[in-house]
Structure formats: C-alpha cells, structure tokens
Assembly symmetry: C2
Homo-oligomer: 397 residues x 2
C-alpha cells in the first residue's frame, strides 16, 4: 500500500521474461508504437506522448529544460512537498522561480492564482495534479491552464501520481506539458517518465533563442518524425535518443493493456470508490485524513497519527504483523503522519479492507481506543452503496 | 549476435520476476549497494561508480555535463561512428569541441595525439575504448590519460561496449570518467548508464564556476554520502536522484554475480579467444574484418561484405534461415558491411561456430565461392590451441 512504487500484477511482471530485443527491431518498434498510442489514450490526448528513461522526475526535467531558457520567469503553485521539485529544477537550470503556496490539504484559491499569473509575465506555470505528500487532488488544473494561456504562459501539470487513477483530460484542460510515470497508478515497474506535449509547447521549443543544453532530455530530439519508409503500416518513426529499456516497455505494454481492458473511466471510478471507502474507514477509526474531503485524492491518503504514536513504530508493526508496506509523511508531517497508496492493483476492496483491519489492530496495540470492526464495517457500507449503482465495483480488475 | 543489446541469460531475466520493491526499502538498499560494489570490481576501480537511468548515452551526458562549463575547450579522439557522440553532447552543452580523427580500424598515432593535447589547453579529453562501428579496441587509453593529466585535462573513456568483455583497468589507467552500460558485454537488460568517477573529476565538479544546469544528471547529486545511521552495516548512503528502476537493478545484480563467478580476467580471456576464433573463421571464408588484427575488438567485429552483396539482404537471410539477428555497418560502412557482436553469453564456441556456419551458408546462397567447413574448422583449431593452455575455454560459462 505504498504511494509509489505500488504493487504490480503478475501478468505485467511476466511480460518482462523474454529474450533481449534490439530497440530498432520491427518487433519492438510495433510494441513501442502501441505503448505510445495506449499512453495517449490514458492521457486523454491527441498530443504526442514522449517517454524518457528514468521516472517522473526525468519527465519533469525533460519538460522544463526543453522550454526554459536562462532568466525565464516561471510560477509554481505549491501545496505540498512535491510542488517544490519543479522549483528546484527551474532554479538549477537558471530560470527565475516564483512560488505561490497554499496550506497542505487545503483547496487552492483560484483568484489569488489568477492575480499572480496576471502580474508575473511568466513563460511557464507549473502545478501538481495529485499531491502525494498530502493526499490532495486539484481538479482546477484546467482553469489554471486557461489563466496561464491568457497571460502568454505555458502550463505544465505534474500528473505523476494521478495518471491512470484520476480523471485527467489533458486535451480538454489544454495542458501543454503533462508529466507522469510508470510506477504509481499505472501499476508498471519504475523505468520511464512520460510527457504529453501540446503544439503550443513544441512551438516554444522550436523558437527558443538559446538551444536546450541537454542532448538527451531535449524533447524535440524525441519528437516522432514522418518516416521515409512506413514500418508496420506506420508512417512516422519515433527516435530513441537513448536506447530504450525494452524489458520495461514490455511490462508497460501489458500494464496499459490491463488499463484499456478495464476502461480508463471505469478505472478512475474504481479508484474513487475505493479511496472513499478507505477514507470513511479511517474516519470510523477516529482519525482524520490530512486533505479536505472535497479534494481528497483517489490514489493516496495522508493520515496524521494520534499523539504519541511515531510513524516509524506504526509502520514497522504494520509490516511485521500484517505484511503491509508503506511509508511516512513528508516535510512537516514526517514525524506524525503516514501515507497509504491505493492505486492500480491495490485500489480494490481486498486491499482496502485488509489495510483498515490492520491499522485498527496496530492502533489498538499502542493503547489507542478502537471500536473493533467499525472501520471495515464503514468501508463495507461505502462499497454496498456504490454497488447499487455500479455492480462491478467489488470485482477484482 | 547483435553488438548491443546482446543476449541475456535466463537467470538474469528471471531475477526481474519479483514484486515491486520501494527503492528506499532496506531490502533493495542492500541489493543496490552490492550492485555498485560489484560494478567497481568489474571496472577494476576503487572510485565510486554511479549508475544513472537510461543507457551508455545518459552515462556519457552525465559525465560531460557534470564537468563541462560553457566555453570549455575539449578534445575528442575519434576513429569511428561512436566517437562523435561525445562531440554532439559537448557542442550542445556549449563547450568547444576539437576533434582528432583516425581512419576506422587503424591504430591511433600517440605522437599526434600528444602534440594536439599539448597545444590545446583542454579541460577534457575523451575517447572511445572499444569502437562498436569498426570493431577496434584501443588499449592506449592509459597512455592518453597520462598525456591529458600532464596537460591539466580530465580524461573520459567511453567503455560502453568493452566493460566486462575487455581488459579495463580504470584505476591503473587513471581514467577520470569511465562510462559504460548494461546491455553490451555486461549481458544485462538495457536500463542504466554507469560512470566511475575519480577524485580529480569530483574536484573539478566541486570547483565549477557556473553550476551544472541539469539537476538529475549532475553526478555530484548522485555521489554517495556518509550516512547518519548505518544501514545493513554500511556507513554511507547512495542518493537516488531519480527513482531507481528496481527490476532492472535486480537483473543487473544477477548479471554481475555471473561475471564475478566466472572471474573478470577469465571473462576477458574468454572474449579474447572467442573473438579470435571468429575472426580467423571469417578470414577462412575469404573475408577480412575492418579492424587491423593488432587492435581487433574482443566484443564486436565489423565485416565488409563481398562486392554485390547488400547488408540488408545478407542480414535478412541470416535471420530467416539461421535465426541469427545482428545489424549492419554504420557511416561509410552502412551499405557494405555487417557487424557481429560476440559478448557476454554469445562469446562461446556454440554461438561462434554456428554464426560462422550460417555466414558460410548465406554467402554460398549469394553465389560467393566458399570452401565448405573451412571457417568452422579454422575456428576449431583456434579453440584447440587455446585449450592446450586453458582447458576451460570451451566450457559454457
């Protein structure tokens, strides 16, 4: 139940058991192309999706280094630990990084954001879609994108922990650089960052005055090009600036197959209901998730622990006695909160109910007063209500 | 028999079949540490080895971006296609790229190199250890390193296709930035670049005037640091600037285990004898490898084909009729040569003899006159001679 990397289905792991294949071979090219087409479906975009080696962080740096020139003013909206990742990359790259900050787990104030964007003359506005540190989801990303565009800025959305687990209409929201990765709600092994790139962003890259100083993380170098010879019916080719990690792509290919078999919207829905069951169970234990209910994330929950229970001790027991591995809070919540991921293959009743039962048991062992069975019972009610409308909710995907 | 990626042993592939593990978990930390210790043994170094996501090319860019500042003069020694990779990275990064060039497959002229280094006031001198495009190995790297150091320059060696397959005494040669990767002679899946970094190189990174503009490919950010709490008896921690591709590390861990079980020097020897058997077999077919015998690579051979036989046609038959996949020449040899990799698990008599038999068969089918069995017979003689001194040569590792 870790917020990332989360568990991986057996069929995804097994997809890696195949001989070495050359990244340029027709067999792999076909898989490579399908991976990118399937990723675009999950991103809900007709933009090109680029995959770069590494993780969400290399995706983020690719996106930023590709459009940013030294001295360029940028604005980052932060409401948690991961918001500052973009600021670090921008500052190191020689950009000017403004920040507008909101309390962890609280809703954003769009008026304040609009005012700030209007004043700044920014080239780039960035924000996190799903804050893994607080367990909050910000569905106002589309509104922020429109503000950015009105004032001449590109909009970058860090969707690292939401892609595949939360509604993310990249095109409808007009996200210029939509960044994500393999090992969160996509339920694939760590290995790549993804960036969906809008025409507006390509155009900024093509018109830079000073070239991008990185050869391999310049997204223009990865852009699919018209092909002289059609390959497998395809009329463009995707450059592999760095040799592709073929085994990880085979896993991703299978993980994407699972997502499309389930259906992207059904998957979002599954995450939403399971997250709700988990949160209401947590509340039945007498605890309160950090994020306000109206912005609670469908993929991760941050839970401040009762006074006197240290996260390290709690997590050690959760693992030793119940086999559940997860991690603690970040920043100001490092010493008093834990975080539970419920995404991909763990956003199912079996995992949610087991985690609630285990948390109740560990809390009791620390002398915290629990009402036995209350958490699991409350979650069960959420599932029962959901099943009246959607009978498939309880099914293992 | 592809020069990269080459084949992977079953036990290495199987090592990837395990549940997702958090990169920060104690279990993975132990594996991560062992991977780096084992890599240092193969590099023959007591320097820190850093692993970055991607492939040899990201290793190369990490090494260059970490030490290079805009305007810095550099010299690259080229004798083939891959030599120019460093020049592209340096130029894009704003450095000045001088080149000293030698004909493909011919020995280097150390006097000319020394003269050039003495005149240039270079900050960095780079060269390729094993040119995959021509099939040549340059064991003068140590001499070039000394010249570079005498004239105040760092020395970067691109050992992408030699590590694990050819003698590479990183410390004895005083290589400052020794770059390699997973999927050549290391016989592991594609996934990471490696850089062994000398104290001299760390010191240049620490003393730069302008900071490295890339956050995640700045090797200083990856440098192992003293740990506050010892983990598993270890007293330092290795930052993971980008989340580690744990599954690929598990494969690499097993591939390194195989290398150390065999013994690094025995492995070099195995590559040398099998390459010799292959080359002499090729000559018995009436063909002539591109590289001069005294610098012939132990991991890859480039073979110009007889007039009138196109590489694409030859390779298609080799694959369709004999199940052998490999690739054609590069640059000026793209339309008239093929390249055969004999590294890792394919540097064994079974693969060498089969490839010679298959090449003879395909040549004959194009009407080229062959003396049936001559190639295989000649290779057999090489093995027989080698076995008098080293009975284990014929054994599958």
């Amino acid at each position: 139940m870790c917020p990332g990397p989360n568990d991986i289905a057996d069929r995804v792991l097994r997809a890696m058991i195949r001989p070495a294949t050359a990244p340029g071979s027709p067999e792999f090219q076909e898989v490579f192309e399908q991976v990118h087409e399937r990723l675009a479906q999950v991103f809900q975009t007709s933009n090109q999706v680029i995959t770069v080696p590494g993780s969400g962080r290399t995706g983020l740096e690719s996106a930023i280094l590709s459009v940013l020139e030294p001295g360029d003013p940028t604005l980052t909206i932060t409401a948690g630990y991961f918001g500052s990742m973009a600021i670090r990359i921008i500052t190191n790259a020689g950009g000017k990084a403004d920040e507008i900050s909101f309390p962890w787990g609280e809703p954003l104030d769009l008026e304040r954001i609009e005012e700030k964007i209007a004043q700044g003359g920014y080239k780039l506005v960035t924000m996190v879609h799903n804050e893994t540190s607080s367990g909050a989801l910000y569905q106002e990303a589309g509104a922020v994108a429109r503000m950015a565009h009105q004032h001449g800025a590109l909009f970058l959305l860090d969707a690292i922990s939401s892609l595949g687990g939360a509604p993310l209409p990249t095109d409808e929201w007009e996200v210029d650089l939509c960044v994500s990765c393999s090992h969160k709600a996509m339920a694939s092994p760590i290995g790549h960052g993804y960036v969906a790139v809008s025409d507006r962003a390509w155009s900024v890259m093509e018109q830079r005055k000073e070239p991008c100083r990185s050869t391999f993380f310049n997204l223009l170098n990865w852009k699919a090009q018209p092909s002289e010879e059609a390959v497998g019916g395809r009329t463009h080719r995707r450059p592999q600036v760095v040799f592709s990690s073929v085994h990880v792509y085979y896993a991703l290919h299978e993980a994407l197959q699972m997502i499309l078999e389930e259906g992207v919207e059904q998957r979002w829905n599954r995450h939403r209901i399971n997250a709700q069951a988990f949160r209401e169970g947590i509340q039945a234990l007498g605890l309160k998730p950090l994020a306000k209910p109206e912005i609670a994330s469908p993929t991760v929950t941050c839970i401040p622990l009762p006074e006197g229970i240290r996260p390290a001790d709690f997590l050690q027991k959760l693992r030793a006695e119940h086999g559940i591995y997860t991690t603690r809070g970040l920043g100001p919540y490092r010493e008093n909160a834990i975080r539970i991921g419920h995404m991909g293959v763990t956003a199912i009743p079996r995992c949610i109910l087991h985690t609630l039962y285990a948390m109740e048991s560990v809390l009791a062992s620390f002398g915290y007063p629990v009402s036995p069975g209350a958490a699991v019972s409350r979650a069960g009610q959420v599932y029962a209500e959901a099943q009246q409308h959607q009978p498939e909710i309880g099914a293992v995907p």
